[in-house]
Each structure stands twice: as C-alpha cells, then as structure tokens.
Subunit: 203 residues, 2 copies
C-alpha cells in the first residue's frame, strides 16, 4: 500500500504537475479526487483552505509548486548545483506569473470584457513570454534550463495545457520550440502511460 | 570589490527579502537602485522584464522568491532536510498568495471600490491567514517552520511591512505572536543595522 497521497479536485489544474513527476519517478501514490460537493467540508481541515495536498508517511502539506520542487529532487529532475536550482526556480516562478494572468479570464463573466482580456493575452502576454521561453530552450539544448530535462520543463508542459483551455489549442501554433518540448515531456516514460490512462477532465 | 549585485527600484518591495538575507549572512553586495525614469530602457535587457535581479560572478537571474531561497541556503536559513524545505516553501508560497491579494488595492483608482477591497482584506483575508500563521508559530517554538529561524520568517517579516503600507500599521494589533516574530527578525544581527541605515522609502 502506498504511503503517498495526492488530493485535488477531479481535474488537472494545479495537481497535474505533481502527478506527472510522481509518474515519471515511478513513485506509487493514491490519486484522491475531491467532489466539489464535498469540498466545503474538507476545506476546513486543510492548512490554508486550498488544494492540492500532498501526504507522505502521515505528514501533510500544501502548495503545488512547493510539492513539485520536493518531488523533483526525489526523481532526479532538480539541478546539479544550487545555481541551477535557482535558474529552475526563476523559470518556474515566471511560468506561475503567466498562469496567474490567465485567471481573470476564468472569473470574468462579461462576454465583451472576457474577449478583450483574451485578445490582450494573445497579442501581448503570450508572445512576450513564449518568445523568451523559446530563447531559453534554444540556448539550453532543447530544455529550459541546465541543458537537460528538469522539473521546469514538466511544469511548462502542464501549464501549456492551461493555455489551451483558456486561449485555444492553436495558441502554440507559432511556437515550434515550445511545442516540441511539450511533446518531449508528454512522451517521457511514466508520463506517456499516465496521459493515456488518466481520468478525462476538461482541465 | 563585491561580486554580488542586487538590482531593484528605490524601495523595499520585492527586493527587501534579498537584502535582509544577504545582510543577515554578512554577504557584501552592491545595492543598485533603479530610477523609474531609467526603467523602460533597462527593462528590455532583463530576462522577463521584471526586477529584482540578482547577479553573482557575472551571472544574472530574476524572481525575488527564487533568489531568496538560493541565498537562504548560503546563510543557513534553509531547512535541515528536504521535508523541512518543503514546509518552508509551502509557507513562503502562501505568504506570496496573500501578498498578491493586496495588489488590487494598489491598482484600484476608484476610491469607493478601494475602500471596499480594503474592508474585505481586513475583515476576511487578514484574519484567515494571520490566524493560521500564528498557529504555525505557536506550534514551532516561535518560528513558522521547523522549530527554528528560517527564511520563511524573514519573508514574513518583510511581507508584513507591505501590509502596513496598504492596510495601516494597526493591522497587526490583534496578532501578538506575529508581531513578536516580526520584531525578532528585525533585531537579528545584520538586519538590525541594515534597517537603521537603509535608504528611507515609503515601501
């Protein structure tokens, strides 16, 4: 019986980077998916009212990126030295910055405002960051940092999925370097099988 | 001559956690403060258009929290093992979540909406998080994590300053445990001298 548990909603969202890393490292875990109806009750018992949660040997903690960094070290997807870890963290926090720019789209109920936000993202935000990410990938031998696969690449791959959901699958059309890194991550042993077998959810 | 450079605006903001950690560790650095007028020109040359930047031996990177984690390891304010580092990161990312909730206040120009946002922060957000942080501090012998001083405490102390700026200095009135941790950080060797001698800025 596995002593690792990942608790999240029935979706990819903030949970998927954790699941990818565990699958990549062949670490067994219980994939607990909370029904929205049960969430208000569970919320009270979480450290800061948020999912995902990560449990190991009975100890529980929260925050997706923090958990991903922890697992990355276990599965050898961290840097070789502390400067590389810093460079990974710089990219990871920048990916989070861009993810956060998508959320107003989700919460905006006015159709016209939503469309205007979407156009700004497509015309300004996406090119600004995607072009910079591509330069890193070109400079680092096909990976974001350190000339090798790290958890920054895995985080980018799952985050690009979020861009598909909010901005359409063709958002990556012009970014071949980003697309091929995403594909490379999705074909990794463990992750490929997971994608083929995971529960189907809209995001 | 120091080979460490910290580049930020002339303010505390996202730069101060880096300066505190360097001062605590007695690591010399060049404290470069960019004039707002010079920023548009410099912005182009930064990795992702943002400050602070951290430079060491000619290598440059961005993202305040990533940089803080890197320096914390150098100055022995990281965890003793990877689980402690995860717990630190969980708290740090949660502090960032709360900081981000303050920014709409800064950008809201409508006086009435600004006041309403402020009231929600004071009545709901602040108590929710501050009470939880206090529980951690009580459980961990006066510190947020690991029963000892870590960079999570330093990040909390500088972040509470931001709450003062946006919500008023009396925001900590009811939170003696938080207040005394903030004071403890501000009286640390290196940090105390820095606070007494740093440039005076509004935030």
């Amino acid at each position: 019986m596995s002593d690792v548990k990942v608790t999240y909603f029935n979706g990819r969202g903030l949970g998927e980077v954790i699941r990818y890393l565990l699958k990549y490292g062949n670490i067994g875990f219980e994939d607990i998916r909370i029904d929205q109806d049960d969430w208000p009750t569970l919320k009270e018992s979480t450290p800061f009212g948020q999912l995902p949660l990560y449990e190991e040997n009975g100890k529980v903690t929260a925050q997706s990126v923090a958990i991903a960094r922890y697992i990355a070290k276990k599965v050898n997807l961290a840097g070789d030295d502390e400067w590389q870890n810093l460079e990974i963290d710089t990219i990871v926090d920048t990916i989070t910055d861009v993810r956060l720019k998508l959320y107003p789209l989700y919460y905006e109920s006015d159709t016209e405002k939503k469309e205007s936000l979407k156009q700004t993202l497509l015309a300004e935000t996406v090119p600004y960051y995607f072009e910079r990410f591509e330069k890193y990938i070109t400079k680092n031998n096909g990976y974001l940092v350190a000339n090798k696969l790290t958890w920054a690449d895995v985080y980018l791959a799952v985050s690009l999925d979020l861009f598909f959901v909010f901005l359409g699958e063709n958002v990556l059309e012009k970014y071949e370097t980003l697309s091929s890194l995403k594909k490379k991550v999705e074909e990794l042993p463990g992750i490929q099988e997971w994608i083929a077998s995971r529960p189907e959810t809209s995001f």
